[in-house]
C-alpha cells in the first residue's frame, strides 16, 4: 500500500478534487445514476466496483465530459464543470472499448494527445518512447491497432491516456484483458505512476483483488447508487450491508433474530436446534430485530474435535472441498441444513490433509469474527 496515513477523506477541512453533489443521470426514463453524492480527493486511487450496468461507465463519462448530469452539480478542483467540453478538462479517460484510432500507428496513437497540447516535437518523442517502454510496446510502435493482440491494444489505450500526465485519469477496466502476471506488474506500475506524478486515478474494475491492491478507497455501486465508500480493509472487514459483504469476497450470511447480551454483544437465534450465536457489534440492534451475521470463510476454523473455548461452534459434515492451491474451502453442511464455507491455508501437502469428504467436523469462530448487519 501507499502511504499509511494518507486519508484526506477523514479531514473535515479537506478540499476534494472531485465533488459529486446529488448527481442524477437519466437516459430517457431510465435512471442510470441516482442521486450520487461523493467526494474524491487529490492523489487518491479511487476504485469503482459494481455489477455490470450499475452506472460505472456513465459516472466516468460524466467526469470526462461526454455526458451531462440531468440534475445535481459536479465540481472539479472547486469549479463547477457542467458544460465544460471534454477537451477543456484536465481529465483523460481510458475507454472500456479502448477507442484506438485505427488509421494511426501505436506510436501516433500515443502521441495524439501530446501533439494537440503544443508540446515541442522532440519532447513528444521522448514521452512516447517512455510510455512505450512502460507498457512494453516498444517493438510494436510502428504497427496499426489491428495488427496487435487484444492485451497489447489495452496497453496502447493505457499508454495513450497516461501520456498527457493529466490531473485526473479515468480508467475504465484498464487491465481486464491482461494475463495475471502482466496485470500485477501493471498494477504496481500504475501505483508507481500515481505516486510519482500525484495524478488522481479513478478506476473501474471487475476484479476485487485489483481494487483491494491498488485503491486508496473503494466504492461499491448498485443500480446507480453508491452503497458504501471506504478503504479496502474497511470494505472487506466492515461492510455496511449484506450487499457489500456479498459483493466483495466470499461470505457466509446467517439470518436470525437478535437478543442483546451485554455491552455491544448480541445473541442471534438462527436455528431452533442450535445454540444462539454470539456476535459483537458497535451498531445497535433492538431486541427481536432481524439481522444478518456476515462471516468471512477464512475467519471460521474447522476442526475434527469440538473446540473448547470458542464462542460459536456448530457441528456438521463436509459436503465438498474446493482446492485453490494455496487455500482450501470446505463446504460444511450444518445440522439445520445450512451450508457454511470455511477456509484454511494449505500449509501442508494435499496428501497429509486430515479432513476429507463426509467427515464429521466442528466449525467455530469468535464473537468478533463476523459483522452484524441489519440489511
Amino acid at each position: 500500500m501507499s502511504q499509511t496515513n494518507f486519508s484526506p477523506w477523514d479531514d473535515p477541512n479537506g478540499k476534494p478534487l472531485i465533488r459529486f453533489d446529488n448527481v442524477t443521470k437519466k437516459f430517457g426514463e431510465f435512471v442510470a445514476i441516482d442521486g450520487l453524492t461523493l467526494d474524491i480527493y487529490e492523489r487518491e486511487f479511487f476504485a469503482l466496483l459494481g455489477p455490470s450496468g450499475c452506472g460505472k461507465t456513465t459516472m466516468m463519462r460524466m467526469l470526462a465530459g461526454f455526458e451531462n448530469p440531468t440534475s445535481g452539480t459536479m465540481e472539479l478542483a472547486g469549479k463547477n464543470i457542467a458544460g465544460v467540453p471534454p477537451n477543456k478538462r484536465a481529465v483523460n479517460m481510458m475507454f472500456q472499448s479502448y477507442a484506438l484510432f485505427p488509421h494511426l500507428t501505436v506510436w501516433d496513437n500515443i502521441a495524439f494527445g501530446l501533439k494537440r497540447g503544443g508540446v515541442p516535437k522532440q519532447q513528444i518523442g521522448t514521452r512516447v518512447e517512455e510510455m512505450l517502454k512502460l507498457t512494453r510496446l516498444t517493438k510494436f510502435a510502428r504497427r496499426k491497432p489491428h495488427q496487435i493482440s487484444g492485451g497489447q491494444r489495452q496497453r496502447v489505450a493505457l499508454a495513450r491516456s497516461l501520456a498527457k500526465a493529466p490531473k485526473l485519469l479515468l480508467l475504465d477496466e484498464p487491465l481486464g484483458a491482461l494475463d495475471k502476471k502482466l496485470r500485477q506488474d501493471t498494477q504496481f506500475e500504475l501505483m508507481d505512476i500515481q505516486e510519482s506524478t500525484g495524478t488522481t486515478f479513478v478506476i473501474v474494475t471487475h476484479d476485487q483483488e485489483e481494487a483491494m491492491t491498488v485503491a486508496s478507497r473503494v466504492a461499491v455501486m448498485d443500480e446507480g447508487r453508491i452503497i458504501q465508500v471506504a478503504t479496502p480493509d474497511r470494505i472487506y472487514e466492515a461492510p455496511n450491508s449484506v450487499y457489500v459483504a456479498d459483493f466483495i469476497g466470499d461470505v457466509n450470511i446467517i439470518e436470525g433474530t437478535v437478543k442483546p447480551a451485554g455491552e455491544d454483544l448480541y445473541h442471534i437465534d438462527w436455528n431452533p436446534n442450535q445454540a444462539p450465536l454470539l456476535a459483537a457489534s458497535e451498531r445497535p440492534f433492538s431486541d427481536g430485530q432481524t439481522a444478518h451475521l456476515a462471516i468471512r470463510p477464512e475467519k471460521i476454523t474447522i476442526s475434527t474435535e469440538q473446540p473448547v473455548d470458542a464462542k460459536n461452534t456448530a457441528k456438521g459434515t463436509v459436503l465438498d472441498i474446493a482446492y485453490l492451491g494455496n487455500l482450501s474451502t470446505y463446504y460444511v453442511q450444518l445440522e439445520g441444513g445450512q451450508i457454511v464455507k470455511a477456509q484454511t491455508a494449505n500449509t501442508r501437502r494435499l496428501s497429509r490433509r486430515s479432513i476429507t469428504w463426509e467427515d464429521q467436523v466442528w466449525i467455530s469462530w469468535s464473537a468478533t469474527a463476523g459483522v452484524l448487519l441489519d440489511q
Binding site: 465530459g65 477507442a99 495524439f112
Partner: protein, 293 residues
C-alpha cells in the same frame, strides 16, 4: 473439389469475357478498319477472310484523332468537367452522408430511401426535368424573378454550369452511399477519444472522421468521375452546343457521320484513359476489404 473451384473461378471470367472483352475486341477491330459505303459501314470484315482482314488493319483512325484538335480538346474538356463535377459532388455529398450517419436510428432508412428514390424514375426524364427547371422560362428563373433577386432570366441552360448541375444531381447518390457506409461504421467513441485528448470538434473531424471515411470518399469520387467522363445524355440535353464532351463527339461520329471506325477509335482511347482511374478504384476497394478483415 478442383472442378468446383474451377467453376467458381470460371463463372466470373466467362462473364467478363462475354460482356467486356468480346465487345471490346469488336470495337477495337472496327477502330482499326476503314470507312466504307457498305453495311456494316466499314471494311474489311471477316467476310474478306481472316488474313486479308488482318493485313488491312492500320492505325489511321488513331493518327487522325491525334491530328484533329477537336478530339483531344474534347478529351481534355471531358476530364475537366468530370473532375470539377466530382469535387462538387463531394462537397455536396459529404455533408449529406455525414448528416445521414448522425441522424437518429429511426430516421436512417427514410433518409436512405430518399437518396435512392430518384433511381425509380427514368434517368432521361429526370434530366429533361432539369431542362424545365433551368431554361430561361424555367422554374428557377421564374422563382428568382418573382422574388426579385434578378431582373432578367439567368442563362444557365446550354452552358457548362447546367452540365455540372446535371452531373452532380445524377451521380450524387454514388457519392453519398459509399461515404455514408464509411461514416456509419465509424465508432462514435473514437471522436470522444479525440476530444478527450484535446481536440475540438472541428479538429476531431479533420483528424479522425475524415481519415476514417477516406476509403468511402475515394470510392465515391471514382464512382462519379468514371461515368461522368464518358457522359453523353447530360451534355447533349443540358449543355447545348457550347459544351464539348467526348461522349457527345462519340455519338455524333457514330450516328450523324456514320463513321464507325473513328467513333470506335474514340471509344478505345476513352477506355484506355478510364483504365487508370478504374485500376486505382479497384485497388482502393481491395485495400478497404483488407482493412475490414
Amino acid at each position: 473439389m478442383n472442378i468446383r473451384r474451377f467453376v467458381l473461378i470460371a463463372v466470373p471470367y466467362a462473364w467478363l469475357l462475354a460482356l467486356f472483352f468480346i465487345p471490346f475486341f469488336i470495337v477495337l477491330k472496327i477502330s482499326l478498319s476503314d470507312l466504307a459505303l457498305a453495311i456494316p459501314p466499314y471494311s474489311p470484315t471477316v467476310k474478306d477472310g481472316i488474313l486479308n482482314m488482318l493485313s488491312a488493319f492500320d492505325f489511321e483512325n488513331f493518327t487522325f484523332l491525334a491530328s484533329d484538335d477537336l478530339y483531344w480538346k474534347a478529351y481534355l474538356s471531358s476530364l475537366k468537367i468530370a473532375l470539377i463535377s466530382t469535387v462538387l459532388a463531394l462537397l455536396v455529398g459529404y455533408p449529406m452522408a455525414y448528416g445521414m450517419a448522425r441522424a437518429p436510428d429511426e430516421w436512417r432508412p427514410t433518409l436512405m430511401m430518399l437518396v435512392i428514390l430518384p433511381f425509380w424514375t427514368s434517368f432521361l426524364i429526370r434530366v429533361y426535368a432539369w431542362v424545365g427547371i433551368l431554361s430561361n422560362e424555367g422554374l428557377l428563373n421564374q422563382l428568382l424573378l418573382w422574388v426579385g433577386w434578378i431582373d432578367a432570366p439567368l442563362a444557365i441552360m446550354n452552358t457548362t454550369t447546367a452540365v455540372y448541375i446535371g452531373i452532380v444531381y445524377t451521380y450524387l447518390p454514388f457519392m453519398i452511399l459509399p461515404i455514408y457506409a464509411a461514416l456509419d461504421r465509424l465508432d462514435e467513441s473514437l471522436i470522444e477519444a479525440a476530444e478527450d485528448l484535446g481536440c475540438s470538434r472541428t479538429t476531431a473531424f479533420w483528424l479522425v472522421t475524415v481519415p476514417l471515411s477516406r476509403n468511402g470518399i475515394i470510392a465515391g469520387c471514382f464512382l462519379v468521375f468514371i461515368p461522368a467522363l464518358g457522359e453523353f445524355v447530360i451534355p447533349s440535353l443540358l449543355g447545348g452546343s457550347g459544351t464539348l464532351m467526348i461522349g457527345k463527339v462519340l455519338f455524333e461520329e457514330f450516328f450523324n457521320n456514320r463513321d464507325w471506325p473513328v467513333a470506335s477509335a474514340v471509344a478505345v482511347v476513352l477506355l484506355l484513359i478510364l483504365i487508370v482511374p478504374i485500376t486505382l478504384f479497384q485497388r482502393n476497394q481491395q485495400r478497404q476489404a483488407e482493412a475490414d478483415t
